[in-house]
Assembly symmetry: C2
């Protein structure tokens, strides 16, 4: 009988990953994953970049490197963050991570003792909740509306809650809700945060996947007190397999993150970093992203049309301007976890919503992904799902 | 003023990494790193494997994959562990990690609450101490002799110590001491461990780098109660840049490690796993390892000859049968941390020994790496270091 650490009481299998295992059968139409469309990966260009790296710098690419990461790649990231996100920074503020998931783990390890408080949108990203759970925090959820976190509610919580260590937010095309915060709300948020001087984790994996509406500035671009820890990633704009993300934060934070990274993994993989850096030397990533947007827009529009046509009127859902997900709220007497088995029996899958609420409840919601399905599967899958929902209506 | 988590009090910069930064100047002869020789990396074969993967399975290679890792690679590992280490296992016992460093972090996270006890050899791997520190354990060091951990001392400690969560050992060509446990000691260790039923972490990055003496079975190969958590890595036999290691452990452990990995990073990089798997399909890794051994043996022998010739007789040192390191003990009035600056002034570097003792002390030791230096630099470096040591003798 092994006596595990207390943190293991908080750690359970991700419902998404367990569900994905069940949905691997090809006959299942899965809206459950958060996968980018693999047919859009720039495989040939990645091969050209890889060949260049191994031919020009093979031994360096296969060797250990510094913990903070490959500097030319960090410089590319700095340039991109300026061009795309209006964030002014330099390489000394960038630490490479294994996807932004590792950044989430590092943030909680840096800031949270057991029982410390993390504030998040309600709902919020299930994978972030899983990562934070390893550091045993408590959660306060802030209610949201169609424009994201409700700032009056946030202010009430900050005024009355001790031990708040950070606020975790996804202002652009949130996972799972697909919602985006308008400019006014971003400004109000930064005003509140500056007043209370609470660190913020801005997770922005989807910001560049905007296919409708206007660009909105990141929180990090309006952060004079350097409270924002910004998490970026190549997973959704290039390819997730390489597991390459980054943290951009103040020197005070980034030095501590470096120490954690050094202890936890030594460094991010050298060939991955050098290959993506070379890709950015050789090719135009903006051009590649531009090829994704019409496809994701088309799939999103099609799913919206199908939901409108086939789902019963009782279902409310988000119409996203970008990203990978929509979020549906069913009548509150329907438990989408129970319904998921019925849907799987009809060979269609989604993620039940309850996992996105760290304090539980909200069994009547579901997350639907549109980025990774062909047209005919979107139409057929939504039809099947509509039938399953209708069978559950009172 | 940010209030960091308590674990951050335990986390400080690795002396090796800080020293490596100082030793990057080309005129410095550095015996400080633990780097494999980059000129021996099979760059062309790796390129061929990469081209094959991206041409045959590009979209899969760039996509997300399962947390436990790419199954064909895990099968290769199972086959290799059987052939090379006499370990009988199957893929369900293997989890891929970002080098064995990540395995070290996961072990402490799985087992240690603050104040729990980790037992290790004295000295032991500095990077393991850093990784474990994030989980805030206490350490009990077991004295060692030229044959590794002294079993009578281990048994005394186990009989009298509460909250022991695991024993961390490197029985083959230990980092930093270069020492190897003989068979009798391995048997005695497993006897004691089976009696107390304490989990063991067997870290074996160097086992295949034996260039003298006879093969010795791993602890994991004599583990009927499945107490041993075995950490393997491709870093020293193939290339460290990919950050590919693995944990082999009982189902009880491996299921928990999977949950930690899922929360902390989702998965290990897909292209790295598929490329190394393809390398193992296409080429003979044993043949590649066989090309490393004469080079490492030659460099080790040369360093031993130079130490014998130039170091003062007061210095004791290990003569390794494999691996990357030798360990030198100077007269105990010499502080090798202070002396390191004097050595750097003479453009020669080593790692001061104190960092390898989790409870401090032992300022008179040093670790020397021979795998990554050319002949003339080994000769010149040891001469310079001998002069620095002589200047410190009373």
């Amino acid at each position: 009988m092994v006596n595990f650490a207390e943190r293991m009481d908080n750690v359970k299998a991700s419902e998404i990953r367990e569900l994905l295992a069940l949905t691997a059968r090809p006959e299942v139409i899965s809206f459950a994953g958060g996968l980018p469309a693999p047919e859009l990966f720039p495989v040939d260009k990645m091969l050209a970049a890889t060949e260049a790296v191994l031919k020009e710098n093979g031994p360096q690419a296969l060797q250990y490197g510094p913990t903070d990461g490959y500097t030319p790649l960090r410089q590319h990231i700095v340039n991109r963050m300026k061009a795309r996100n209006k964030i002014e920074t330099d390489v000394s503020h960038i630490l490479m991570t294994a996807g932004s998931q590792q950044g989430l783990d590092y943030v909680a390890r840096l800031l949270c003792d057991p029982g410390d408080v993390v504030i998040m949108e309600s709902p919020s990203y299930l994978g972030a909740i899983n990562a934070f759970n390893l550091s045993q925090p408590k959660y306060v959820e802030i209610p949201t509306d169609e424009n994201g976190m409700i700032m009056e509610e946030l202010e009430k919580v900050l005024a009355t809650t001790d031990r708040v260590k950070f606020i975790y937010v996804i202002p652009d095309f949130q996972n799972p809700s697909g919602r985006t915060w308008p400019l006014e709300r971003r400004k109000k948020f930064m005003e509140i945060v500056n007043k209370y001087e609470i660190p913020v984790v801005e997770d922005n994996p989807y910001g560049e996947l905007r296919f409708a509406g206007e660009f909105l500035p990141s929180l990090k671009s309006m952060d004079p007190k350097e409270l924002v820890i910004y998490l970026g990633t190549f997973s959704k704009i290039l390819a997730p397999g390489y597991r390459l993300g980054w943290i951009c934060a103040s020197h005070e934070f980034i030095e501590k993150f470096n120490l954690i990274a050094q202890a936890a993994v030594l460094q991010t993989a050298t060939p991955s970093m050098m290959i993506i850096s070379k890709f950015l030397d050789m090719f135009d990533l903006d051009e590649h992203v531009a090829t994704l947007l019409p496809v994701y827009k088309h799939r999103c529009d099609l799913m919206m049309d199908c939901i409108k046509e086939y789902f019963p009127a009782e279902v409310k859902y988000t119409i996203p301007d970008g990203g990978l997900f929509t979020w549906a709220e069913l009548p509150d007497y329907i438990d989408t976890k129970i319904m998921a088995s019925q849907a799987l029996a009809q060979n269609v899958a989604y993620v039940p919503g309850a996992g996105f609420f760290p304090n539980g409840g909200n069994h009547h919601c579901m997350r639907l992904n549109y980025s990774c399905s062909t047209d005919d599967r979107i139409v057929e899958g939504i039809k099947r799902l509509a039938d399953v929902i209708k069978a559950n209506l009172k």
